[in-house]
């Protein structure tokens, strides 16, 4: 599908009001109590803040930090399971960033790999993602180096790019079309895609060149340098806090725990986890195959740029740069990737 339509800013406001009135949840980038911008539930389009990248990603809309899977009850030696529904009411995410929308699509692969993850796809089915073309990033952005772009449509149902008194709407999916159709009065004729070209070019220019666009080179080097001293060097700085994984739109590892609530009842939950901590790989025996931060730092790069590509032919990174922005110790993925490319192409080595 590649039809376009147009929505005026006024109608966008009306659209949010209409959706809310219809009982459909709407989320978008909005201000939090501590002054940051997060994707969160909104009441009106005026809540939406389009400047700057939201602190969190869209990941938690599909994989919440904690999620009950089922509840169990024991009586004597019997165990009863109480299922939890995986059907979800409809909702719309408005103002997603292309890098965040793409991440959801990247994750669909692992979530539908050997087993279809019901809660994930339950939420996916219920959610329409309305993406706004990115106005441009900062020095940590590198979406174009991982095959995406500030105006990429991957993972989006609709892609909006500003033009005149509104937005040119690219209808990307059936779900997107359905949203337009259901709210047809809010959409109408207007400028075409070409009117947004300058906007898109400017955005693209702002993110290019931060990391060489050589994912193949990176993958090959990482595959071949498991024991390279480079990993030990970069891990010196790392606290192992996992802030990068929490902020990352594609880090999706989780832990499954049983939480007893009484003697006989409890809940099985899955919670976010991260490969950056030692307990992630700790064995019950006490042995830990990834026993220092060196291995953990390597694992993160390895998984994103070599393992995932090998298994799914896709990079587990959308170049959003959040890990660099959030790192309390100044670890920077653009620096790491740039150095890897340099080492691989013979233009530098580990310091």
């Amino acid at each position: 599908m590649s039809t376009t339509t147009f929505i005026r800013t006024e109608d966008l406001k009306g659209l949010v009001a209409d959706l809310r009135a219809a009982g459909i949840g709407v989320a978008g980038p909005a201000r939090t109590s501590d002054g940051a911008v997060d994707y969160r539930s909104i009441n009106a389009f005026d809540d939406v803040v389009l400047d700057g990248q939201p602190r969190n990603s869209l990941k938690q809309f599909f994989l919440p930090p904690t999620e009950p899977l089922f509840k169990y009850q024991r009586k004597g030696s019997d165990v009863a399971i109480l299922e939890i529904s995986t059907t979800f009411p409809p909702r719309v995410i408005l103002g997603a960033r292309p890098c965040d929308a793409a991440a959801v699509d990247v994750l669909d692969k692992v979530m539908n790999w050997d087993y279809t993850d019901e809660p994930w796809f339950g939420r996916r089915a219920a959610t329409t993602i309305v993406t706004f073309a990115c106005p441009g990033g900062d020095r940590s952005c590198f979406c174009t180096s991982v095959g995406l772009a500030p105006d990429a449509t991957r993972g989006s149902d609709l892609l909006l790019a500003p033009a005149g008194d509104g937005y040119v709407v690219e209808i990307v999916t059936e779900k997107g079309q359905a949203l337009v159709t259901a709210n047809a009065k809010r959409f109408g004729a207007g400028a075409g895609v070409e009117a947004t070209q300058a906007y898109r070019d400017k955005a693209r220019a702002s993110v290019e060149g931060h990391v060489p666009a050589r994912p193949d080179v990176i993958r090959a080097w990482v595959d071949a340098h498991f024991e390279d001293p480079f990993w030990a060097e970069i891990s010196l700085r790392c606290h192992g806090c996992g802030g990068c994984a929490a902020a990352c739109p594609t880090c999706h590892c989780f832990d499954i725990v049983d939480e007893p609530e009484t003697l006989t009842e409890g809940t099985r939950r899955r919670n976010w986890d991260t490969c950056q901590t030692s307990v992630f790989t700790a064995h019950a025996s006490g042995h830990n195959p990834r026993n220092d931060q060196c291995g953990r730092c390597r694992q993160r790069v390895n998984h994103k740029f070599a393992i995932y590509p090998a298994r799914f032919n896709d990079i587990l990174c959308t170049g959003c740069g959040r890990c660099a922005r959030t790192c309390p110790a100044g670890q920077d993925v653009t620096e790491i990737l740039t150095r890897i490319v340099a080492m691989a192409t013979g233009q530098g080595g580990a310091a």
Binding site: S41, Q60, P64, P65, E67, S85, T267
Partner: protein, 169 residues
């Protein structure tokens, strides 16, 4: 209404967990028993060797498990069977109590006392006062509400989107 008066039908009966030391308060509670001192039946005692053994985590866990109130009780200063366990406990719980207060827990729910092995009567008073106080404060629903029961979720009473940390949208 004193603590031993049965509550009106359907009225709130607080659940109180008491962490007490073996040598003074537990024995004092034994004495209350042998003296047949009648008291409210809302308190469940967990016996520890010493107040020094009581970890603040016991208290948060008891709240998590639905306790409406807590009693921590041990030997009077200078009477500790282990010399100093109660002194360490006193500092620990002075800080813990201020922390709880700061986090918005009504500290009326947490009673600290020194009850010696000879103070059966004091133990009864501590129990009855705590029950009366917590009964007035009502059930500690704030703590219980921290996690919505997923059974209610499963039966459709609460949509799963509102469980736990999920961002509602």
């Amino acid at each position: 209404m004193d603590a031993t008066t049965p509550a009106v039908a359907g009225g709130f009966e607080p659940r109180i967990t008491a962490f007490v030391c073996n040598w003074c308060t537990y024995t004092g509670a034994d004495l209350a028993g042998t003296s047949r001192l009648q008291m409210a039946s809302n308190v469940r005692i967990i016996r520890l060797p010493c107040t020094g053994r009581i970890d603040p985590m016991f208290i948060t866990k008891a709240f998590e498990r639905g306790a409406d109130g807590i009693i921590v009780s041990g030997c009077h200063p200078a009477d500790c069977h282990y010399n100093a366990g109660n002194y360490h406990a006193r500092r620990r719980f002075a800080i813990f109590r201020e922390l709880m207060d700061f986090l918005g827990v009504d500290t009326g729910r947490i009673t600290f006392s020194w009850v010696s092995a000879s103070e059966g009567g004091k133990w009864r008073d501590v129990v009855n006062d705590a029950v009366t106080r917590v009964r007035a404060l009502g059930p500690f629903t704030d703590y219980r509400k921290l996690v919505v029961d997923p059974v209610a979720t499963a039966t459709g009473v609460v949509p799963p989107e509102h469980v736990g940390k999920e961002v509602p949208a």
